[in-house]
């Protein structure tokens, strides 16, 4: 199973029963897998007329109380940004997978991490936040797709799984989790499930009175604050005695795991921190580590986006160099080790 197929299967097992998508490389296998498999569990599959239509179909399905997902790759995700803002404004849960590729513009179809700002800082308009999860392996991708549905429902927010072309296209052995029975999930009393015998529910992001919008937005911000309190996830590797640490997420994080082994065999005390939630970002753990080490090296397949969050966490307590590859080039273990050595000497 490729990473793309595994993420699609994980969504079905998480209880997703409405998937809407539009083809774009390198995420087509998600669409293809959903077309083949979601009808068998009574779910809906629609190949929409555009990415914009697909995300707005998610809005409708989510308002009706169904676990719903769309997926695309970078240029298509840009088109979905308006819809994501509306989902956030209407407090609707939804899972969005971005199998990111080279950009800006049409870019290319190779793996890239240039969509970090868009995902974590709000590519759509308004005061909203989106939980962003960054898997490094296919096993993590499955786990995080399952988690994404739970978090989306729990906090009534859109959640993005920020993957990339490498993870989407590669294969490795996996264990699939037991499927969730969607009928046993917590009830959604806010959903548009038919108003017979009760007052109608309203799902909207439109509040013409500034006082009303102020109140709604303030309530939403307090939920975002709860997410920051409760949901930060990250993984540390060999950090306890480290003098230099790499911070990397997604595909780069797994490449960096190999670099840790290589560096340690050469006597370099290298550790690794992999942020798993990119929003909320693990500022506090990095802040804690920053007084223990000399250098925190951020590695990304971008010109330097997550490094801004790393520098916010670390301030001037350690050196914070950056190494990035652009345009869809994937750094190899040797490339990263070279940068580690440059910063050690």
């Amino acid at each position: 199973m490729t990473g793309n197929e595994a993420m699609a299967e994980a969504a079905i097992r998480a209880g997703c029963r409405a998937y809407f998508g539009y083809p774009i490389t390198p995420q087509n296998e998600i669409l293809e897998y959903m077309a083949g498999h979601i009808p068998a569990v009574g779910g809906a599959f629609i190949q929409a007329e555009s990415e914009i239509a697909a995300i707005n179909m998610c809005y409708g399905a989510s308002a009706a109380g169904v676990r719903t997902m769309t997926s695309s790759s970078s240029p298509g995700i840009s088109l979905k940004m308006e819809g994501i803002s509306y989902l956030a404004g209407a407090d609707l849960p939804c899972v969005i997978i971005n199998v990111a590729r080279g950009g800006p513009g049409l870019g290319n179809i190779a793996p890239a991490q240039g969509d970090y700002f868009q995902a974590t800082k709000g590519g759509g308009h308004g005061d909203y936040r989106m939980i962003v999860l960054g898997p490094a392996t296919i096993a993590e991708a499955i786990e995080l797709v399952m988690l994404a549905f739970d978090l989306a429902d729990k906090y009534r927010v859109p959640v993005m799984v920020l993957s990339d072309g490498m993870l989407g296209q590669m294969m490795e052995p996996i264990m699939l989790p037991e499927p969730v029975d969607p009928t046993l999930l917590p009830a959604k009393p806010w959903a548009l499930s038919g108003a017979r015998g009760r007052d109608p529910n309203v799902v909207t992001s439109y509040f013409i009175d500034p006082g009303d919008l102020n109140r709604i937005n303030t309530q939403r911000q307090s939920r975002y604050h709860q997410i920051e309190e409760n949901e930060i996830r990250y993984r540390e590797t060999e950090t306890s005695d480290a003098t230099i640490i790499i911070v990397a997420y997604g595909a780069v994080a797994r490449i960096a795991r190999t670099v840790v082994v290589m560096a340690r065999s050469q006597g370099i005390k290298l550790g690794l921190v992999q942020p798993i939630t990119l929003w909320p970002f693990p500022y506090a753990p990095l802040r804690a580590l920053s007084s223990q080490v000399n250098t925190i090296l951020t590695v990304e397949m971008s010109a330097g986006q997550m490094v801004e969050d790393v520098r916010l966490a670390v301030a001037d307590r350690a050196k914070t160099p950056f190494y990035g590859e652009l345009g869809g080039l994937v750094p190899t273990p040797k490339d990263i080790l070279r940068e580690v050595k440059r910063n050690v000497s």
Partner: protein, 187 residues
Amino acid sequence: MATLWTGISMEESFVFAGFGGQGVILTGKLLAQAGADYGLQVTWLPSYGPEMRGGTANCTVILSNEPIGSPVVDNPTALVAMNLPSLDRFEKTVAKAGTILINSSLVARPTERDDVRVLNVPANDIAVSLGNSQAANMVALGAIIKATGIISLELIKSTMVRMLSHKDSANLIAVNQQALEAGYSAL
């Protein structure tokens, strides 16, 4: 933790490269699946550019008895070069004391490396002699598993039968089985 059938604890990384249509992507998948069937850690990473028949294609397969971090490899321990552009591109990257398998039916030049083991296998000629030139990839796979000793012939055969069974062609499976055996015996 699994040990290899040869009893050695190790990691092998393979690059399979050739023209689109030569079956290098399937060959890599088959090796990765056989490794997983054997209980090894494996990764399979394809090139996925806008390749088409006649273009170039390659994939990287790692088999290990340790968890695999990077699926991207600087220096593969084995290269299967099914055509000249593949040899040109990957020859220099192969690890010292690694293995280069050259499909000598299509590649006329020898390798420039003297620090690796070189296997010249006329994969297409052998496949043609078996009645199907498209089985050249299986000839090469049979040869490289013997050279590296990482997976047994029986295992790769049984994995192939399972992976191709949906194709519903006993003849196809028989030809591929013969090709794997012929490659294995060619060394």
